[in-house]
């Protein structure tokens, strides 16, 4: 099996098995209970918070654990206090967890402004500076795009935003960035950051929102008052411990992993016949994600064709089955013969050179077969 859809999820690291065993079968206690064993668990959660803050190079601020990256994004957008009717800027290439939450805010009377992006989905800094004004109460721009891997200059964008309105709240969806590129919160100057555990080898069902010290969040889930009342629900202790462990472990290897994946991605790109494939992602994109458009062959059909070799790739939201999601592919302004041919190949630190070689071989083989039966 060659799994090249790591942007959708990743295999859980073996370390997590041990951690889960510990918190499922030994220290299974409710962290909110009052006996000693529970307090030990509660302390472990707080240690996990510190580990995560440290990995993100955050001086202060807090980590709110959620059940997913989507929930962290929802909490960031819906839970922050913003002046009624004020403007909120998001980028045009945001993930649905931001985009659809922004639509909800629009329903609630806020004005949503989309920051213009280039052909890989990166926010154009100059255009951003033009739309940013004093009426903007919040900005949410993703760190790494989930379709193309393009990296936004969050530091620069945040600087511009804060120079125009010092009170603006700046959020970044860092779900495809966490544990893959070095995030330095102190340096970035942002207020909120979302992450999702299963994108970096932790189990599904755990995410987190980083919140800087001077931001007051209002809960979107109510109950027993866990996470300082901001996110009630008994904590997913095992998930929290796994996520913190993974982030800590991978943070130490960010650079070497990055270089390793980058060379794999480059060798893949070099081996794609430019007559048949158009590489959407550019050199400045995160090497973990590669977006390619094929001429005349549908992405979804290629995805299924590669299944028989045990190769799994993604189509991102470009999948033609999801008829509603043409929003992102449109941004790439592809020629008509490439429009339906988008595939997303996403790597992790365990992807090997042999995997990529085999993938290219089978991709080219299937392409030559499928292109014969292109749609009339």
């Amino acid at each position: 099996m060659i799994f090249l859809d790591n942007a959708s999820t990743t295999i859980v690291d073996k370390d997590c098995q041990e951690i889960c065993n510990k918190y499922y079968f030994e220290e299974f206690y409710n962290p909110s209970a009052m006996y000693h064993s529970s307090i030990v668990v509660k302390n472990s959660i707080n240690d996990a918070r510190k580990t995560i803050l440290k990995a993100l190079h955050a001086n202060d601020g807090d980590i709110i654990f959620t059940a997913s990256g989507s929930e962290a994004n929802n909490l960031a957008l819906l839970g922050t206090k913003k002046q009624k009717g004020s403007k909120i800027i998001i980028s045009a290439s945001e993930h649905p967890a931001i985009y659809n939450t922004a639509l909800e805010l629009k329903q609630r009377g806020y004005e949503i402004v989309e920051a213009e992006v280039d052909l890989v989905g990166r926010v154009k800094i100059d255009e951003f500076a033009k739309i940013m004004d004093k009426d903007v109460s919040m900005v949410s721009i993703m760190y790494v795009n989930n379709e193309t891997g393009c990296i936004n200059d969050i530091k620069k964008l945040c600087e511009i935003a804060k120079s125009i309105n010092p009170n603006v709240i700046f959020h970044t969806d860092a779900i495809q960035a966490t544990a893959k590129i070095d995030i330095n919160i102190r340096n970035l100057g942002i207020d909120l950051l979302s992450m999702s555990g299963h994108k970096f080898h932790s189990p599904k069902g755990i995410g987190a929102l980083y919140v800087t010290r001077n931001i007051n969040l209002r809960p979107i889930i109510f109950g027993g008052g866990q996470e300082n009342g901001i996110r009630s629900a008994t904590e997913n202790v095992a998930g929290i411990m796994c996520m913190a462990h993974q982030l800590d472990k991978l943070s130490r290897k960010i650079e070497s992993n990055y270089n390793q994946v980058k060379s794999l991605k480059n060798s893949l790109v070099q081996n794609l016949d430019k007559n048949n494939y158009f590489v959407v992602s550019d050199d400045d994109c995160s090497p973990y994600i590669l977006c390619v458009a094929m001429k005349f062959v549908r992405g979804e059909v290629m995805l299924h064709s590669l299944e028989k070799y045990g190769i799994m790739i993604g189509t991102g939201s470009a999948c033609s089955s999801q008829k509603s999601s043409k929003r992102i592919p449109r941004l790439f302004q592809l020629l008509p013969e490439y429009e339906k041919g988008i595939i997303r190949v996403s790597f992790d630190d365990k992807t090997t050179k042999e995997d990529i070689e085999y993938f290219i071989k089978q991709l080219n083989l299937e392409y030559s077969l499928l292109v014969k039966y292109m749609r009339g």
């Binding site: 549908r298 059909v301 995805l303 299924h304 064709s305 033609s320 089955s321 039966y373 749609r375 009339g376």
Partner: protein, 387 residues
């Protein structure tokens, strides 16, 4: 006092000498529908009852029975030994103490000396007495009816309600039918309607991997599962169809793609129908809905089979079909956005009025067409779908 469910049969009561065949089949279908619930099926004196079930499961059992074809309506009732005083007491206890009502007695047990109307007035009188003046008799504009069956078995039944069921004939009484199940809105409804007329369903689905996904197949299985709630077990045959589509694409003009594809589908469906003792094909075709469902197209695709083809939706509007699909709960699954094999290689301008001779001429250009059909049939995947 014991709770029981009375089952009233639909059209079966019109049957003559072979009524037994229908009722025994209905009994079998009911028992299958209720196989996961403790119950006893009682068939006495032309009536069917479900007894000895757990009261906590009554709602689920009623729900299951409402989906069994051949049942006209059902009522929940309590069964008690026939003692008119006790019946009156029980009625006063369980029925509302307010509003207008009537009492209706059906006295099959002629050993009871009183006439039905006398018993009704006695019981109604007793209920009025116990109700502090807020209850009133109105024989015509009543809010609830106290309906009591006094049976010859020395037991009586007091009914609470009357739930309309699906009607139709017991599944299986008309034989087997092979449904062409695409994954769209129409075909499950067509299957439902023919099952209602007593056909046991087989279904054939054409799968064009890698053009149609695993999810598309899962969707069709889900549709067959949902259909099976009414029709009972559905045997789904999944036919690999990609190679046939490739051959048509390579050898025939694109505007005849769909026409010739459907001729292949009909041929294969008839073969599979014969292998599975089905006497008819069923399609969700609907006159004029799309290019392949014009009178001319239906003629060209129909001409490859000898078996009768039932098209129960032929005269419906799309809105009417959707209404039925919502009712039988297949609509939400049908509109899941996975491509089916008909949309693969879909020409921009399919022929609207194809000609049989032209279709045959193009078809003959596919030299190994018989082999392709054999190959497809050989690789059929059989899935038993059952809720």
């Amino acid at each position: 006092m014991e709770r029981t469910i009375l089952i009233r049969i639909g059209e079966i009561f019109l049957k003559g000498n072979n009524k037994r065949f229908f009722t025994s089949l209905l009994k079998k279908n009911i028992n299958v529908a209720l196989e996961n619930y403790q119950h006893t099926f009682v068939n006495s004196q032309n009536r069917m009852y479900i007894e000895n079930y757990k009261e906590s499961e009554e709602c689920e059992i009623l729900d299951k029975l409402q989906k069994v074809f051949g049942i006209y309506s059902i009522s929940t009732a309590v069964k008690i030994p026939t003692d008119l005083d006790e019946i009156a007491k029980l009625c006063a206890e369980i029925f509302p103490k307010k509003g207008t009502f009537r009492v209706t007695i059906n006295r099959a047990d002629k050993t009871i000396p009183k006439k039905s109307t006398e018993i009704a007035s006695d019981i109604g009188g007793y209920m009025l007495e116990k109700a502090n003046g807020e209850l009133k008799v109105d024989l015509f504009n009543y809010e609830f009816e106290v309906s009591i069956d006094i049976r010859e078995s020395s037991y009586s039944y007091i009914f609470f309600n009357r739930l309309l069921c699906s009607g139709g004939l017991p599944v299986g009484c008309s034989g087997n039918g092979m449904l062409l199940l695409s994954g769209g809105i129409d075909s499950p409804v067509a299957g439902y309607m023919m099952a209602k007329r007593g056909l046991k369903l087989y279904a054939v689905h054409y799968h064009s991997f890698p053009y149609t996904s695993e999810q598309a197949k899962e969707k069709v299985i889900e549709l067959a599962n949902r259909m099976s709630e009414y029709s009972g077990e559905v045997t789904l045959l999944v036919v690999p169809f990609t190679n046939i589509q490739y051959a048509i694409k390579q050898n025939c003009p694109i505007e005849y793609m769909i026409t010739i594809m459907r001729r292949f589908m009909m041929k294969i469906a008839e073969r599979l129908a014969k292998e599975n003792s089905c006497g008819a094909l069923i399609t969700g075709e609907n006159l004029g809905q799309v290019a392949s469902q014009t009178m001319e197209s239906i003629n060209v695709t129909n001409s490859v089979v000898k078996m009768p083809v039932f098209r129960p939706l032929i005269g419906f509007d799309k809105a009417e079909i959707i209404e039925k699909a919502i009712k039988m709960d297949t609509f939400k699954t049908s509109i899941l956005p996975f491509e089916d094999c008909c949309t693969v290689f879909l020409p921009k301008n399919p022929v609207i009025k194809p000609k049989i001779n032209t279709a045959i001429e193009y078809e003959n250009q596919i030299e190994d067409r018989d082999n392709l059909i054999e190959e497809a049939i050989k690789n059929v995947e059989t899935i038993i779908c059952k809720r």
